[in-house]
Symmetry: C2
Subunit: 304 residues, 2 copies
Amino acid sequence: MTALLGLDWGTTSLRAYRLGADGAILERREAPAGILQVADGAFEAAFRRAVGDWVDAAPDVPVLAAGMITSRQGWVELPYLACPAGVAELARALRPHELAGGRQIWFVPGLSLVGGDGVPDVIRGEETQVAGALDGAPDPALLVLPGTHSKWVLVAAGQVTWFRTFMTGEVFAVLKAHSILGRLMTGDGHDPDAFRRGVAYAGSAGAGLLGRLFSARTLGLFDQLPASGIGSYLSGLLIGTEIEEALHGSPHTAMDSVAVVGSSVLAARYVEALEQRGLRAARAPDDVAARGMFEIARAAGLVA
Amino acid sequence: MTALLGLDWGTTSLRAYRLGADGAILERREAPAGILQVADGAFEAAFRRAVGDWVDAAPDVPVLAAGMITSRQGWVELPYLACPAGVAELARALRPHELAGGRQIWFVPGLSLVGGDGVPDVIRGEETQVAGALDGAPDPALLVLPGTHSKWVLVAAGQVTWFRTFMTGEVFAVLKAHSILGRLMTGDGHDPDAFRRGVAYAGSAGAGLLGRLFSARTLGLFDQLPASGIGSYLSGLLIGTEIEEALHGSPHTAMDSVAVVGSSVLAARYVEALEQRGLRAARAPDDVAARGMFEIARAAGLVA
């Protein structure tokens, strides 16, 4: 018995979930229909193609969508909700949008935060994943959501009180594809020793990242790192640096445990790096977005 | 009267100097004949094309070459000379190479240093520029040579005692050309206010670079930075971060003056950023490579 239809609609992909009364995932779909793949703003057509049969088969079931679908390039642009905010605030901020035929879809807004340094930061989609990852989490809980733009999120008493975006994944990708470091790399295999060496260097005292990147070249030059390990070394150096920055930048600097959201290979690397640094790393599954939408829908009274 | 022919032979260009008895530049040439432009190792032919007439017209004059021409991809690969090293050590390490017809060319080696963190670093070409930039410099002197890979060099009692490579220029280039930040940028003009804001952010306490890059997006998103200023802001953030890292990483942390080598637009930005940070920035001209080759040749007894 379907209780909720949820769409985790990002930049490059659309993940759809059909959820039961207790939030269990009854069915899931994934399509390469991210907002960048939808031409001319034809989001409702894309929505129908993805889950039209689900919608028609469950005429009284609420539909929620979260992610970049609410950005300026998406279907309906929503302003960011200012932190601190949790499931209750997200539920109150749900924005209904009427579909052809009168059915409604509810959009979940992203969050904004002005950091202690006066600079604003934003998340859009991750707030929903975080909402679904809190079951059994400590309080406060520090979470990391690895990706092109990795997000670290601190949750206290059920509310997001701090977060920060790290461009680690994108920096790695552009250095690999377009810099001298990438031209030195051979192969795509993971080299655990090289990765650990990068993480260790990131965690040692001394220079910052700009003055350390070149080590990916010089260690090879002096035969201390095989060319096949340069990619893993750079990955370890960048992820390790991110971890140092995040732990140092979080208002709760005494956290000894971090929840890593996702089941990707990248998430596994974060677990390795965190454990190397002596932290406990708990894994949260990919489906936290579905769970988060269910929690928000329940807080909004859309599901029982 | 020609006393020395000097070639500053880098990756993308070849600069040649005809120097007088006191090291004065009598004539200069620049050709797009960097080592990457020379096919099939035909360096001697490229050399003849660039300065064959000079060489023939001054049969008894020594010829020096410095830069990437002594790298593995260059004409004659030279091992790095370990620091500390100055003009005297570079002069002793000159490597002669016999040209067709029996004439010699002398190659200047680069320098290597194992940092306090155990990681090796290298320069090749900058050691000669530094040798030419010390006239009138304080002791110790801290120099920065801006570029794709910016080099900071500390010279004490005439010897290079520390240096560090920062990949700032390349990081900026790949982020501008290939990242989301570059896609947000409009125009190529310099925005002094945006640049200063980036430098100021880099110098403030708090997160590191990976957690600050995204501000180039969010400040625009919240209308605190025009799209036309994002490039200058990112440049200021990166150069400012490099300055913080270099001043913090140098063994002489109390330096209040930095010599900026070069007359490029980029060098001017470093002067602006240093002065914004309250440091004195002295400019050293581009032709320090010619002066450096003259000093090394003199120390080697090749010129009077």
